[in-house]
């Protein structure tokens, strides 16, 4: 499973089908926030407090200016300024506290969400994990949760305070002067209109831009990933020509998209400035023609406060628009994470029989299995393996060898028939017991980014150092481990990157040496191991197999010939079964395979 890592745009597009359930997703996000409800309420209170304090400051400054007009600059002025200072402090402190709380709530929500999704990965059936590109799952758990957190944070901090600012500003303005407020209220919606207009037009361009950019990205990914092949055919110029065609198209559309979208700020500022001019003009006239009842008690100070409001009043509108886009994106990302969380898990069946002290008899009776309903794979598979037998499974690629491993380990469940271990049906046995009864070494060795020791102890965390070294000696891994920079404490890097393929396989065998399970499953490596290591691996395998039932997906004729039982598979069925000699005598498919080799 390599997965298409590049086809997915993290958190980017909202896809069809996700639109429908946006409401449901939002509800669920809110439900997740329930434990944080007290904090959220506190955050709302702080936000309101901060907005009100902020709005009071211009009014107080206006009052101060009025005092200056009347020539009083003594204690009264100082008192007002002190009060304004206190409010400014109040606004700043409550805003800071609110930010911290929101940040905390969001970080914790995302942490919990991510942990939940990861837990889910541990219980999801392999069927799901095998059929979903890993790159996509990784993005869901990392990039999408990240995007979700960004959007949520913006939503939290700006949406609520934006709304309160608008309401608060309106209230304060109305309380100061109705007529001038009406001017502001009538003109400002124009800027929303302008912003909408621009957004609507640039949206189309952005869509085109992102589709052309997608085309370009995919060309770049493909060609750079496989550059060596490209160069072997000397086709660089052709590719560059194709790239340039796309690039020129991108230039045109990008230019328009960028220009249009950058009109939003000047556009809203334009409308805003018109409102400002009107307020200044009408207000100034109103100040001296005090008589009109509509413009009662307007002073220079109040006018100043008004002008400052008119300047800031629009900001929340712009913010809210961008918050909503961001928030929609966040919800789409959350939906993708929820999809994973909601996936059906492997059922943990109750009252399953324990399966302990396995001696290693395995039998399959009338087993049917297929990955998809369209294509039958294994049909009526029967076999009987006695404890201590060495079973080689051979056959062309795609014949069902790996599937058999999947069924034995219960990575997948059989659809009909039974698999018995020591005459006990595995499907009815404790899953952990079944898996612990097998030791498995796969062709793609898996090591994690930890020390050699941690990796060896993976199968048996309680083993002592002495036991570990003994196991490493037995599997011929000790000598190369000793030569590593820090011996057993050497860190391996992601996927054991500092080791050769053969050394990785030796470590995986060591892991089993420490565990000594009664049954073994070995998937022989087809290639890419040097001869000496190969011999060491074979000798280690042999030691490991002593007295144990072993299933070997075999590629080497030596392994096959030494087997007690050879299963020849083709198209999901065992077509021949027996020892090397008997099968050669049979002169069937096996004999043909063997001779062609």
């Amino acid at each position: 499973m390599s997965g298409n890592l590049f086809g997915y745009v993290p958190g980017g597009v909202i896809r069809e089908g996700e639109r429908v359930s946006r409401g449901a997703v939002l509800k669920r996000v809110l439900k997740q926030e329930r434990p944080y409800l007290p904090l959220i309420i506190l955050s709302f209170v702080l936000s309101a407090a901060s907005v009100i304090c902020m709005l009071l400051v211009p009014i107080l400054i206006g009052e101060a200016i009025d005092l200056i007009c009347t020539g009083k600059n003594g204690d009264a002025l100082l008192k007002i300024l002190l009060k304004a200072g206190l409010f400014a402090c109040g606004a700043a402190v409550s805003q800071y506290c609110m930010n911290r709380i929101n940040n905390r709530v969001v970080c914790h929500t995302v942490r919990d969400l991510r942990a939940k999704a990861f837990q889910k990965l541990q219980t999801l059936p392999l069927k799901y994990l095998d059929s979903h590109p890993h790159g996509d799952l990784i993005s869901r758990l990392s990039a999408d949760t990240e995007q979700f957190s960004d959007g949520l944070l913006m939503g939290f901090t700006q949406l609520f305070s934006g709304v309160i600012t608008i309401i608060g500003t309106l209230c304060f303005m109305f309380s100061m002067n109705v007529a001038i407020t009406l001017i502001v209220v009538c003109v400002t919606p124009l800027s929303i209109f302008a912003a909408r207009f621009i957004a609507g037009h640039s949206y189309e361009m952005f869509k085109k831009q992102s589709s052309i950019r997608g085309e370009q990205t995919s060309l770049v990914n493909e060609m750079l990933t496989n550059e060596k092949t490209l160069k072997a055919y000397g086709r660089e110029e052709d590719v560059l020509k194709r790239f340039d065609e796309i690039n020129d198209g991108l230039e045109k559309i990008s230019m328009r998209a960028l220009f249009f979208s950058s009109l939003t700020n000047p556009g809203t500022r334009f409308v805003n400035n018109i409102a400002y001019a009107l307020v200044a003009c009408v207000g100034a006239i109103a100040v001296y023609s005090n008589a009109t009842p509509l413009f009662s008690s307007l002073t220079v100070g109040i006018l100043t406060a008004f002008l400052s409001y008119a300047n800031h009043y629009m900001r929340p509108f712009n913010e809210i628009t961008s918050v909503i886009t961001e928030f929609q994106n966040a919800v789409a990302c959350a939906a993708r994470v929820f999809e994973v969380i909601d996936e059906e898990e492997t059922e943990e069946k109750q009252d399953q029989m324990p399966l302990k002290d396995v001696s290693g008899d395995v039998s399959l009776t009338h087993v049917d299995f297929s990955y998809t309903t369209e294509k039958e794979l294994i049909k009526d598979l029967n076999m009987n393996v006695k404890s201590g037998m060495r079973v080689a499974i051979v056959g062309p690629t795609g014949c069902g060898k790996t599937t058999l491993i999947n069924l034995l380990m219960r990575f997948y469940e059989v659809q009909a028939g039974k698999i018995l271990v020591d005459s006990q049906e595995t499907a009815a046995s404790d899953l952990n017991d079944v898996r612990s009864a097998y030791g498995m070494v796969l062709q793609d060795t898996w090591l994690f980014d930890g020390t050699v020791k941690e990796n060896i102890l993976f199968g048996n965390p309680d083993a002592t150092d002495a036991e570990m070294i003994e196991a490493a000696r037995e599997s011929h891994a000790h000598s190369f481990i000793r030569r590593l920079e820090n011996g057993y404490d050497t860190r391996l890097g992601e996927d054991g990157s500092i080791l050769s393929q053969g050394q990785k396989q030796l470590l995986c065998i060591t892991r089993l040496m420490l565990n000594k399970p009664p049954m073994l499953i070995l998937d022989e490596a087809t290639s890419s191991i040097d001869t000496r290591t190969e011999l060491q691996i074979q000798s280690a395998f042999k030691k490991l197999m002593q007295g144990r039932t072993a299933f070997i997906v075999a590629h080497r004729l030596s392994t096959i010939r030494d087997a007690d039982l050879i299963l020849v598979m083709r198209d999901g069925a065992i077509i021949e079964m027996g020892t090397h000699e008997s099968l050669m005598k049979q002169n069937g498919f096996y004999a043909e395979l063997y001779r062609s080799a």
């Binding site: 942490r111 995919s218 990575f411």
Partner: protein, 582 residues
């Protein structure tokens, strides 16, 4: 980043005009408080309706011209930024495509892709933002301060103090925040790595029943990430409240000192209001500026990385020296010759190939075998001229590989790489990579020779779709199609680098017999891990740890070469007669 500035060369006009118009707009904005002051000082006390309306009309006029110049500025900024990134992207991609193999190895595909995508995009955003905003904020801040000095020098000093305090606060907070964000990013990468590891090892983890412990180690990494993000959040939480508080305290100071000046008759009320307005303008600009710092930081980091790539040496300027004399007599020309060749990938690395001496006649089929890291692929890549020998010379048709024009050499050699790669498009598109002009019949013939008729049929013929990475084909099918592609090239030298590893024994055998009966009988190099795949070769080269361990026919090597015998035995052959019976 400085190296990238040349991409703005063609946009000198735009780069000057955009900030100029921005400055113009800012200039208009700076006139506004003066007009308001006039309204307050002259219009209101004298009940001068005409003056007020005139001022109001002036304000509207300023708004219109301001808007017009702002739109103009945005246009030039967008044009310069997009032009910049288009040219940059072209040059970068061309540079990457012309990387030599050693350069590809040292940079790596994922990094190259990131350079092309997000780094260029960020650089474009950086240029655009810089032209639009980076200069606007200083204009306003400096302009407002100058206006303050014009109105009242004492107040001007307050402005200077404010700017100093604010700049320190903004820079300190933004810097700390950037480094905290980087720390959080690292934690995020760790979490991502854990998820990837968990998915790739799911079978092993479940086989050992360790799901719970995996959860525990994930939780601790996840917890660390959460902590790092909270730290970064705590820092960025400071930015707005702190700047807000500083500005407002200075405003109060300004009003207080203004009041004293008014009483002393040095200032008018309107002037105080104007000063107040100027200070408010600074607040808005500085907040924008702080956000801009973060965008610019990202753009600069990406720009540095791109510049580093563009600075890398051009590797492919091997000049074709037309008059190179061919070494040796014409009739004695070897198809490929290695003259005491050694090779290492880096100066300080160990030798991958040591003292290889080898002469291959035209039309020979040579097998190459050896363990991993024995140097098989490296040898093939030296013939193809992908890497050049550290010591000694590799020659093709009697001429040193490094004397060839790159294209000439590419035409001589057809190589099937270990990793079979198909490109998106149709099967035919892929095959024609080998030969642009090949007819459908020729494609069909190559497909037949490469034993992939079935695969082509299964997908619906030569014009069937190939998805990116060839994911709709199996590994074996991909291998055979890349062999077909290589055959179409009809080159005199064919190299098959472990090209049949995913094929079953029977297909492999059939393929080998097809290769031997190719019409033009090219010189063939066949790299394999299996002795059985090579036993019919004219000669087999056995490599062990970069040295020649044996050279001869299958039967000779079995007798004389221990390494070869070991490999052969490990693959289950005690004696030759048994396997060769067929």
């Amino acid at each position: 980043m400085r190296d990238l500035l040349k991409y703005l060369k063609d946009y000198k006009k735009e780069c000057v005009l955009a900030p100029l118009f921005k400055a113009l707009e800012a200039g208009f904005e700076l006139i506004v408080p003066i007009l308001i002051a006039r309204m307050i000082d002259v219009g209101i006390p004298h009940s001068d309706r005409q003056l007020i309306i005139r001022c109001g009309l002036m304000l509207l006029l300023l708004t219109v011209v301001g808007f017009a110049s702002s739109v103009t500025a945005q246009y030039f900024a967008a044009k310069a930024a997009v032009g910049f990134s288009t040219k940059l992207r072209h040059d970068l991609f061309a540079k990457l495509l012309h990387f030599s193999f050693p350069q590809i190895d040292s940079v790596g595909a994922p990094a190259m892709i990131t350079r092309m995508n997000s780094d260029v995009t960020n650089a474009q955003a950086g240029v655009n933002m810089f032209l639009r905003l980076f200069l606007r904020s200083p204009y306003i801040v400096i302009g407002a301060t100058i206006m303050a000095f014009v109105i009242d020098p004492v107040s001007g000093l307050i402005f200077v103090a404010l700017i100093l305090v604010l700049s320190v606060a903004v820079v300190v907070i933004a810097r700390t925040n950037i480094s905290l964000l980087e720390a959080a990013q690292q934690r995020l990468e760790r979490v991502t790595a854990l998820i990837r590891e968990n998915l790739s090892g799911v079978r092993v983890i479940r086989a050992f029943c360790r799901q719970k412990d995996q959860g525990a180690s994930f939780d601790s990494a996840n917890g660390e990430l959460c902590l790092a993000q909270k730290k970064a959040g705590a820092c960025s939480s400071l930015l707005n409240p702190v700047t807000y508080l500083i500005i407002n305290l200075f405003i109060l100071w300004l009003v207080r000192s203004g009041a004293i000046s008014v009483t002393a008759g040095r200032l008018t009320t309107g002037a105080v209001v104007a000063l107040y307005n100027y200070m408010s303008q600074i607040l808005i600009e500085l907040v924008k500026f702080a956000n801009l710092l973060i965008t610019m930081n990202k753009a600069l980091a990406g720009g540095e990385r791109i510049a580093a790539i563009l600075k890398m040496e051009d590797a492919e300027c091997v000049a074709f020296t037309g008059d190179t004399e061919r070494d040796g007599a014409e009739e004695n020309t070897f198809a490929v010759a290695f003259d005491h060749v050694s090779f290492r990938y880096h100066e300080r690395a160990d030798e991958v190939l040591s003292d290889i001496d080898l002469k291959i006649m035209p039309g020979e089929t040579v097998g190459i075998i050896g363990g991993t890291g024995a140097g098989k692929t490296t040898l093939a890549h030296l013939i193809s001229g992908f890497y050049s020998a550290t010591k000694g010379t590799v020659s093709v048709n009697g001429r040193n590989v490094s004397d060839y024009d790159k294209k000439e050499l590419t035409d001589l050699i057809s190589i099937v790489m270990q990793k079979a790669v198909l490109f998106s498009g149709t099967i035919a598109d892929n095959l024609r990579f080998g030969n642009r002009e090949a007819s459908d019949e020729e494609l069909q013939e190559a497909v037949r020779q490469a034993c992939c008729e079935e695969a082509v049929e299964e997908h619906g013929g030569l014009y069937a779709n190939v998805e990116q990475g060839g994911t709709n084909f199996s590994g074996g099918q991909r291998q055979r199609l890349s062999i077909a592609r290589a055959l179409l090239k009809n080159a005199p030298i064919l190299i098959l680098d472990d090209a049949s590893s995913a094929l079953d024994y029977m297909t492999d055998k059939k393929l080998r017999s097809n290769m031997r009966s190719l019409k033009k009988s090219p010189t063939i190099f066949m790299i394999s891990q299996r002795t059985t795949s090579l036993k019919d070769c004219d000669h087999i080269l056995v490599l062990d740890d970069g040295c020649v361990a044996g050279y001869g026919t299958h039967n000779e090597l079995l007798k004389t070469c221990t390494v070869y015998r070991e490999i052969h035995l490990s693959q289950g052959r005690e004696d030759d007669s048994e396997g060769g019976a067929a």
